[in-house]
């Protein structure tokens, strides 16, 4: 349907368009511009070719692998949780959803900092562990801690979309499946799972994207020299060297494209009409 818009309608859209141009299109254009130029602002693709020489490529792989792990763990934890929440009655559901959202009311950095405090060698967790006779476990400064941090921080983003999709599934459809011969397990496998796919895809997107580009978690919880791609970008943009903005932009651009490809693949699994992938 092509409809001519009135001036009033255009005016209503104007703030949004202005916002988009100023804070989405323009920065993106600047990133692209920086990525394809050298320190003297001459066109160059050296920023990209360098990525393969200085080990950045390995950091990319590591970041993707970590994000993948965190996303998988989130899914495994969140799906059953979301399923059980959606089976409770309306009041309990609201409370449980609120409880699972509660950590998000606190600042992300604060949460991660608190986590590092808990997991310190002399922190609460280790104190408890040694009290029950498990000594010398190092929780913090391990790759595992980084993944734990990701899972802890992004789990609500997985629970929420899955819960919202499952709770909207028509109860009659579930009864129809039982009626036709599905036992409890088959109902989940053959009806609830396929019907909640859009929620899964959306949840994966919302966990994977921030996980892959995070930088604070790895610094706080990871081993001393441990870097993820987010840290690399941060370092470049904080550095004073003339070419650092250009390199940082190039990495950002590559990361963006990689995420885009991942999401495109993911969205193929979900229905075309159910707009699963919400980019964050």
């Amino acid at each position: 349907m092509v409809k001519k818009r009135s001036i009033a309608q255009r005016l209503l859209a104007a703030p949004h368009i202005l916002w988009s141009v100023l804070f989405i299109v323009a920065p993106l254009a600047i990133v692209v511009f920086y990525a394809f130029t050298d320190a003297a602002f001459h066109f160059s693709i050296n920023n990209f070719t360098r990525l393969f020489d200085d080990g950045t490529f390995e950091v990319f792989t590591l970041s993707l692998a970590f994000a993948f792990c965190a996303t998988c763990i989130c899914l495994v934890i969140a799906y059953p949780l979301a399923y059980f929440i959606s089976r409770a009655n309306k009041k309990t559901q609201n409370t449980l959803v609120m409880l699972s959202m509660l950590p998000m009311w606190m600042n992300f950095l604060l949460r991660t900092y608190a986590l590092s405090f808990l997991m310190e060698d002399t922190g609460v967790l280790n104190t408890i562990l040694s009290a029950i006779g498990i000594d010398g476990v190092s929780l913090i400064n391990t790759p595992g801690a980084v993944i734990f941090g990701m899972v802890y921080n992004f789990l609500p983003y997985m629970i929420l979309p899955i819960h919202s999709v499952i709770s909207k599934i028509d109860k009659n459809v579930i009864e129809a499946a039982e009626d036709l011969g599905c036992n409890r397990f088959q109902v989940i496998l053959k009806v609830i799972m396929p019907l909640s796919l859009p929620g899964i895809v959306s949840g994966i997107t919302m966990v994977f994207v921030p996980s892959v580009s995070t930088f604070y978690i790895s610094q706080q919880l990871g081993p001393t020299d441990f870097v993820l791609i987010g840290d690399v970008i941060e370092t470049y943009f904080k550095s004073a060297a003339a070419s650092s903005y250009h390199l940082g932009s190039a990495i950002s651009l590559v990361l963006m494209i990689l995420i885009f490809i991942c999401m495109a693949v993911m969205n193929r699994f979900s229905d075309d009409d159910s707009a699963g992938g919400i980019m964050v």
């Binding site: 009659n172 459809v173 009864e175 129809a176 039982e178 009626d179 036709l180 011969g181 599905c182 019907l195």
Partner: protein, 371 residues
């Protein structure tokens, strides 16, 4: 009719504090078309869900083929349901929806294909197998739901107001189709509806329910001609229900007059409810009438006029093909076979007076029910 297939014995159900079903006793024979009829909230859907295995009764037994099945989950019962809103699987196409139950039985692919094709042609949807569920109209979705339930060859098919969402014309077509499918396959159908016309035209047996209790069980003809109480008489068709007395066998008294009737077996001078159907009354000139009154309202209904006649402050509804002006005096002739006498019940005096009657009010109350 053949042997008992389903037997409900002393079934009672409460939700929270509300009593939904009070001591229901009902048996259903193999191959029978039974309709549970009643206003919303009467417990008919609950009864159906008990048979389907979605609700466990608080007390009482459900017997299937002589065996108690209270504790058998719905997926193990040879009973399938067609839900009010079809409840098709939105992630599967028409073919896969129908094949759903067959795949669970792990039948060979070839057999599944044959059955699905057979079902598609049974419900007149040949060639629709690849179609997406959401691209179908309401009537077509309903057919898929029927095919899906019948594909697994149930002994009993439960239908919960399956035609409620369809428009009038389509509903009539589907009524005929359902009836003919039932007769061809010889499967027991248990049908829930609040539409009395649907119930009368399709069923072998009608079970009229109200307030969680069975009011009457009988053939459509019995239910219409020999209603057991004022509720049944009012719910099925139109009725004038008058306060009367049974003088002795074959003689009753109402509207200040004595009438001959065909009813027997009452005490002398027992207080009774008398039912006279609007279409059974003959309109005659005032001086020839057994009772007479003034026409207060007249509505043209197509086949006939519906007139409201005030006789001794009781408003009768009469259906007649002749035009009678509002305000004119007319007489009524009531033959003995037009009179049906019922015992007094808790419903006496609640129904059958048309003094507050108007089409509008009735429509409003029907809408309320649907909400």
């Amino acid at each position: 009719m053949s042997k008992k297939l389903l037997d409900l014995k002393n079934i009672s159900v409460c939700f929270d504090d509300a009593v939904i079903l009070k001591n229901i006793n009902l048996y259903i024979c193999d191959g029978e078309f039974v309709t549970l009829l009643g206003p919303s909230g009467c417990g008919k859907t609950t009864t159906l869900r008990i048979i389907g295995g979605f609700i466990n009764p608080d007390t009482g037994d459900v017997l299937f083929d002589g065996k108690r099945i209270n504790d058998i989950p719905s997926y193990k019962r040879e009973i399938n349901t067609i839900f009010q809103k079809y409840a098709l699987f939105p992630h599967l196409n028409v073919y896969e929806n129908i094949a759903f139950g067959l795949r669970l039985k792990k039948l060979p692919e070839k057999e599944i294909k044959n059955t699905v094709e057979e079902m598609l042609s049974l419900v007149n949807l040949k060639g629709f197998g690849k179609r997406n569920i959401n691209s179908l109209s309401g009537g077509q979705q309903q057919r898929v739901a029927i095919a899906r339930a019948l594909a697994v060859r149930p002994r009993v098919l439960l239908l919960d107001e399956p035609l409620g969402a369809l428009d009038l014309k389509l509903r009539k077509d589907m009524q005929n189709e359902l009836k003919s499918i039932q007769q061809r396959l010889g499967i027991t159908f248990i049908y829930v509806t609040h539409d009395q016309e649907e119930a009368l035209s399709m069923s072998d047996t009608v079970v009229v329910m109200d307030n969680g209790e069975i009011q009457q069980i009988g053939t459509p003809l019995d239910i219409y001609n020999e209603p057991k109480n004022a509720f049944v008489a009012d719910f099925i068709g139109e009725s004038n229900i008058l306060d009367g007395r049974m003088l002795e066998d074959y003689r009753c008294f109402f509207s200040g007059k004595e009438f001959k009737c065909l009813d027997t077996g009452f005490e002398k001078n027992e207080a009774v409810d008398v039912v006279v159907r609007p279409e059974d009354v003959d309109v005659v000139p005032a001086e020839e009438g057994m009772v007479c009154g003034t026409v207060t309202n007249l509505t043209f209904k197509g086949v006939h006029y519906e007139i409201i006649v005030d006789i001794g402050n009781f408003k009768w509804m009469i259906q007649t093909t002749d035009y009678h002006e509002v305000g004119s005096r007319i007489g009524l002739k009531i033959d003995p076979d037009a009179i049906h006498v019922m015992k007094k019940s808790e419903y006496s005096g609640k129904f059958g007076d048309y003094s507050t009657f108007s089409d509008e009010i009735e429509e409003m109350s029907i809408n309320d029910e649907e909400q």
